[in-house]
Each structure stands twice: as C-alpha cells, then as structure tokens.
C-alpha cells in the first residue's frame, strides 16, 4: 500500500506547524492571570506595602460577600415573582410586573441606588410613621427615624430590586420556553394554575435558566462595588479610603482588582459545579 507512506511523510513536516498551532491556542490570558495572581499572592506575604494594603482591604471582604449573597437571594425571589407577574393573565399583576421591569431596565443601577437611599427609604419611613401614629401614637413605628435605616440595608435593597428586574425577564423567558402542552396537561389533571407552575413548569424552567442566573450572581459580586458610593465599607470603599489617605494608587488598585478576580473566579467555579450537578439530576 502506498497510502500509509504518504501520510507518514507528511507528518514530520506538519509537526512544527502543529506546535505553533498548539502555542497559538493556549489560553494565554489564563496563564497571564495565574502568573499575576501568584506574584500578587507572593507580594502579600513578602512585600510590606502589599501586605499593608491587603490588611486594609480585607476588612471589606465580608461586607462585599454578604452584600452580594443577600442582595442576590432577594433578587432571585423578586425575579421569580416578577417573572410570574409577566406571564400572568391578570391585567393588574401583569402591568405592575411590567412597569417594574421597564423602570429597572431604563434607569442606571447607580441612580437606582441613590433613589433607594435618599427618596424611597425616607418616603417609606414617613409612611410607616404616619401609620404608626394612627395605630399606636408614640410607639416604635411612629418614632422610627430615617437615620435608623443603615445605608447597608438601603443599598442591599436597591441592588436586590435592580437585579430582580433582570431576573424577572430571565424567569419569564424560562417559563415561556416550556411548551404550553405542559400547562394544559397539568391543568387537565385538576391542578390549579399555581400548582402547575410550582410542580411542572418552574422545575423545568429553572433548569434552563440556571446558566444566566449563575452569571448574574457573578455580576452581582462586581456590582456590589457600587455600595461604596454610599460609604458602605466593602473592599472598594476600603481601597478608596486608603488611596485618599496615602495617595498610593497603583498597588491599591492592583490589590482591589486581584481580590475581585479571585472571588469571581471562585464563584464561577461554584456556579459551574452547581449547574453540572443540577443538570445531571434532571432530564
């Protein structure tokens, strides 16, 4: 046979090309990030300046993580309710949900945060005061002060509502991706609309929207840096305070970016792990 010899001859010639090809397709960005990570981690332990900066910023890590987790959980809940509202046949519920989604989508998150902090919170407190005055004059509700509501709570609520608007659309898309035969089959067995949603539609829809929901968790971690504008001491705010006092910019920002990158990387892996686990259990 002549065929094997011809292929054998072509192999040595292409192996160099293959090597270059292989080099070109290496994930250089990842290698670069790992290298930077190793250098920074090393610096935290060996370089005095970096270890000082790390000791300043680490106070904010817990705040960053808890803002992210709490705001995200509330956002998913709001998103579920909003999504159900968006597919509702009840005009009142549908319009309320749509209004919510459209307002959220059209206003920057930063502006929403200011609204929650300086308009909605005082407004709600005022309302509660009026209510408290009516029910129990001089009671707890009536004497509630605007200052009693910490900025942390305001900003977490704002982030939750902002992301809830996005998640509402994610849930809507997920619910609508399930064929209407599923709802009809469930209803024809005597289930109520909500039972059919709970036991038939949502379990299937949630499996489908897991990837975007996971991505938004990572986005929430990054957007949690917005809380710094209200002086909430997350890692961004700690970095700003340190820079304002020391005028040491590049190392501080390196450290800040490094912390976010590490956290988003870990979160992404966790999200992936959950996805494959949920994906395996379902069909």
């Amino acid at each position: 046979m002549t065929l094997p010899t011809s292929t054998a001859r072509s192999q040595p010639g292409s192996s160099q090309g293959q090597f270059i090809d292989w080099l070109a397709h290496l994930p250089w960005w990842l290698l670069f990030m790992l290298l930077a990570g190793v250098i920074l981690t090393f610096a935290i332990f060996s370089d005095d300046l970096y270890s000082l900066i790390f000791s300043k910023l680490q106070n904010g890590i817990l705040t960053t993580l808890s803002v992210t987790v709490v705001a995200y959980l509330i956002a998913v809940l709001l998103g579920l309710l909003g999504g159900l509202g968006r597919v509702s046949k009840n005009p009142l519920i549908y319009n309320l949900a749509t209004l919510y989604v459209q307002v959220i989508r059209g206003v920057p998150i930063l502006v929403q945060i200011f609204y929650f902090a300086f308009v909605i919170t005082p407004g709600v407190v005022g309302l509660l005061n009026a209510l408290g005055e009516a029910i129990n004059p001089g009671g707890l509700l009536a004497s509630l002060d605007n200052q009693d509501i910490p900025m942390l709570a305001r900003v977490v609520t704002a982030l939750a509502f902002a992301y809830g608007g996005f998640e509402a659309e994610t849930f809507r898309a997920g619910i609508e991706s399930i064929g209407r035969g599923q709802m009809e089959a469930a209803r024809s067995l005597g289930m109520s609309y909500l039972q059919a949603m709970r036991y038939v539609i949502l379990p299937q829809a949630i499996r489908r929207i897991l990837p975007p929901l996971g991505n938004d968790f990572v986005s929430m971690l990054k957007d949690s840096s917005l809380v710094s504008v209200l002086g909430v001491r997350d890692i961004t705010q700690e970095a700003r305070l340190y820079m304002a006092a020391s005028f040491i910019y590049p190392p501080t920002l390196n450290m800040l970016a490094f912390l976010y990158l590490s956290m988003t990387l870990v979160l992404s892996l966790v999200v992936k792990w959950i996805e494959t686990r949920m994906g395996k259990s379902g069909h």
Partner: protein, 248 residues
C-alpha cells in the same frame, strides 16, 4: 343502559370563536355513561375545540356543558373539580419530562386527590400494569418510545379515577408500529365501561370500539350514527365525500 341514569356529558348549543374564526358553531351532543363516542372530521373542523371545551381548556363563547350532572361555570373551583373527573390524553403525550413515569402518575394524585405517597405509588404501579409497561416505572419520558409515552399518559389520567376519558388524536404522533399498542389499551378501556370521547383518524378503532360516531365539518355536527350505519350507509353527502377520501 339504565334509562333513568343521567347522561355523563351534555353539550348544548356550544359555540367557540377565536377572534373572527368560528371554530365550533352550535354543537349539541350527549354521551351516556359507559359509552364511547368517536368524533371524526377533516382538519380544522373543530373536533379538538369541542373536546377541550369539555374540560374547559378552552372557554366556550356560548352554550352549556354539563359533566356528570354538574354544569361547567367559569368558577375556578368548579373547573378544577370537573377536570379531576375528566382525564385527557393529548396527541403530543405531554408527559412531564423532569419526572419519572411513576412520578408523572403520582404527582396529581398527591396534590389534587390528596393521596398519601404510598397509596399514590400503589395506584401508579397498578395503572402501569394495566397499560402493559410495569417495568418502566422509574424511567424518564425521554427514554421511552412514543407508544410507551402515550401509555404512561393514559395511566397518568386513569390514576385520577376519572369518570370520563377524552382522547385527542392519541395515535397521530406515533410511528405506525406503535399505534396498535395504544389502541389496544383504549379498546380494553372501552370494554371496561369507561365513558370515552375519542377524536381519531383510526377508522378500525372507530368501527370496533365506538358506540356512536359523530362526523364534524366546519365547526358543526354533520351526522351522528352507529359505526355500522356510518360506514355502510352514510346519510350526508359530505360524510360520503370524507369517507371516500379517507378509506381509499
């Protein structure tokens, strides 16, 4: 048939519009308990719509529907109560893909009929036995053939102990070699005395299992008769035309 017994289904002057389309136009039908009515007719004649009005998957535009002596109203409680008594089998099976065959059959038993887990499973196994696939209890729908899926769907409906079973072209989505296994289950069901309304193009089934055949065209009932009369001496010209096309 006991003459004093009330009919299982009474439809009076049913009309259903979809926008400007008149899908059903003044249909009146009665199905006695234990009887099998087969509805046939060309595509778009309103067969599915009549069927879907019986369990209120479609809201009638006008007319009255009585199921086992209870009139269908728009009240949700009333609708859910009636749906639990009326089993429905769809062309596309509509099994719940995230649940096993067994879970498909136990779900509504537990949350609608409020049966305990053990009782629901017992009934589910019994129904899977009845449709001839007891070994498929723990398999997901995606791993079943079309014929097996449809039999699970029938078992799921039967597990609710319905008084009536509605079938909307149950074999139309099946490969030819699987049609018989589903029709056999339906034959058995008919023999067991279940009240059935079946939309189908399977003329063999209509001949063997039907007590009455209804021919629909353009939203109305053209002809009602026994299978013998229907196939040997159809009264209406439109029926003859349809039969000549379908029985070629």
């Amino acid at each position: 048939m006991d003459a004093t017994q009330q009919p299982m289904i009474v439809i009076k002057n049913l009309t259903k519009h979809f926008g400007r389309v008149k899908a059903v136009d003044g249909v009146s039908l009665t199905v006695e308990a234990g009887r099998v009515m087969v509805i046939i007719g060309p595509s778009g004649s309103g067969k599915s719509t009549v069927l879907r009005c019986i369990n209120h998957l479609e809201t009638p535009s006008s007319g009255e529907i009585w199921v086992d002596g209870i009139q269908l109203t728009h009240d949700h409680k009333n609708i859910n109560a009636i749906r639990a008594e009326v089993g429905m089998v769809f062309q596309q099976f509509n099994l719940f893909p995230h649940l096993t065959a067994l879970e498909n059959i136990t779900l509504a038993q537990r949350i609608v009929r409020k049966r305990g887990e053990a009782e629901a499973r017992r009934v589910a196994h019994q129904q899977l036995e009845r449709v001839g696939i007891p070994e498929k209890a723990d398999v997901y729908p995606g791993q079943l053939s079309g014929g097996q899926q449809q039999r699970v769907a029938i078992a799921r409906a039967l597990a609710m102990n319905p008084k009536i079973m509605l079938f909307d072209e149950p074999t139309s989505a099946l490969d030819p070699e699987m049609i018989k296994e589903v029709l056999d289950v339906m034959q058995d069901l008919a023999r067991s005395g279940m009240t059935m309304v079946v939309v189908t193009h399977e003329m063999g089934f209509a001949k063997n299992a039907a007590d009455e055949i209804v021919f629909m065209d353009r939203g109305g009932v053209v002809e009602r008769s026994t299978p013998d009369d229907f196939f040997s001496q159809p009264r209406e010209e439109r029926t003859r035309l349809f039969l000549s096309q379908i029985l070629r």
